[in-house]
Amino acid sequence: MLNALGRDIPSHLKPFVNSDDYKNHKRRLISKKIKQSKTVFLSSYKEAFDMFNIKDNQTLSFHHHLRNGDLVIREVCKLIKEKNIKGLHFAPSSIFPSYTEMIDLIMNENITNIHTNYLNGGVAKVISQGHLVGQLIMNTHGGRARVIESGDLGIDVAFIACPSVDKFGNGSGAIGKNACGSLGYAIPDLEYAKKVVLVTDHLVEELKEYQLSSEYVDAVLVVDSIGDAKGIVSGTTEITKDPIGLKIAKDCSILLDKLGLIKEGFSMQTGAGKTSLAVVSYVEKIMKERNIVGRFASGGITKAYVDMLEGGLFKKLYDVQCFDLDAVKSFNKNTNHLPMSSSEYGNPFEKDIIANDLDFVVLGATEIDLDFNVNVTTDILGNLIGGSGGHSDIAHGADVTIVISPLIKSRIPIIKENVTAITTPGQDVDIFITERGIAINPMRKDLIHKLKDSNINIFTMEELLNKTHSITGIPAKIKKDDRIIGHIEYRDGTVIDVLRKVHDDYIR
């Protein structure tokens, strides 16, 4: 059965309709968990496995706030291997290259199904090559909140790495030797998992402020170390020096300005890459020159935004995860640097989410097609290299969604007639900025009208594609494997695309 974007979806799955279709459906909520008894304190993973009777075919969840520095998911994997528990369904909010223990568990069918929002590294590689026996389901950050609160993804035990926990069982990411700041992605797991264990290496008497309330916490597991704080740094704190990246960033800021988006009380979100940082820096310059103060910036928060908050350029930061240690410090110190849960960030069924309050967002793309559909999940051969994260959530929520990318990366054209996999639907992507010109989604007549007298180089997507092919040549057609290894679930729970195993010809 074809979905609305023409992708063939297996008949037992719900096909994607359009990004506003959630408005036609009611929110489904299971009841929040009720803790049976007092919070129990444990001292080993074994005790936790025994207490919750962790066994074959259960679903275990994790968050990824410690990213490459996370030891909790790795320790749980080691114990699963030791006990040889089979058929587990894993639901980490993201999977990073350091989670190498998961690879063996996938190969040996200890882990057979996975829900996640983003993955790369060795785990992504073995799944791309077809080694996961069951299915990989890719969610958005907001969609993960929905799939958990609706009970569609039932979690038996949530292991929540928590940088500090008090004697009542309340948890916070703001302090501790592995402080990581906001714990926004852990909130749905906390509230809806059947059993919840906070794993910490920093026990305190009493936390005055905490994001995780003990009312949901069954057990606290105290260990020597939950991770390596240095591994939590994601993205970069450096502005790009690449002339192509700088040109794109500069053009992006000029365009934002021409559209009147940098104005008193505006709100924005960008990624954490080097080119995004250059955009932020150009926006900052304009704000300073004209004494503009923004209402808020949101997202994964980085030093660049902390500096703007502390410099009075933004009134608030809404933070679902801290991307660097400066953001962690600010989260602990600045009262206007506020936490948000993944649901408050991007769940389509939550009221007044931050994503919907954004004036503009600047996002990346691995591929974009003639219909403005964006792929950030796979490369051109079908290898898994990422995932939506918040991409689809904020692309839908923001008034103006801008995607920036060089036209060509290592000879590979970014524009395709059809993207390899659709992560974010083209109806939510308004402007594509490259070093050689800009394309505007024909559906956004208002934006085209505003820019009609500007000297910005505006092309159609077809024109940009032809320009690219004149430089790179036309790439050979990619062979697709028949085997479906999973799918990309749009934020409302419909299926926007399937994921296929990489063809054997491309596996070395």
Binding site: L381, S410, R411, T472, P475
Partner: protein, 84 residues
């Protein structure tokens, strides 16, 4: 003797050339699945243009565009010829 030009940086290629009884071309490219034929054609045409045969050419490609591949090969050829 072998002669080289280029680098293994992104968007560049390293070209190695040496004399041989017959002309052989080896291509190892990160975008070989997509552009093998174009890369081979760029090498063949450049060898013809430069009136060079009886060489073994190795292209270690990191996504170079055709003009880069041609330029690197021409430099490698000149290095080889100057050595004669």
């Amino acid at each position: 003797m072998i002669y080289q030009a280029g680098s293994k940086e992104s968007n560049d290629c390293l070209i190695t050339i040496k004399k041989s009884n017959e002309t052989k071309i080896h291509i190892d490219s990160i975008v070989g699945h997509l552009f093998y034929d174009q890369i081979l054609q760029a090498v063949k045409e450049t060898l013809d243009d430069q009136l060079v045969d009886h060489v073994e050419v190795t292209v270690e490609d990191k996504g170079a565009l055709d003009y880069t591949i041609r330029a690197r090969l021409i430099v490698a050829i000149r290095r080889m010829k100057n050595d004669v």
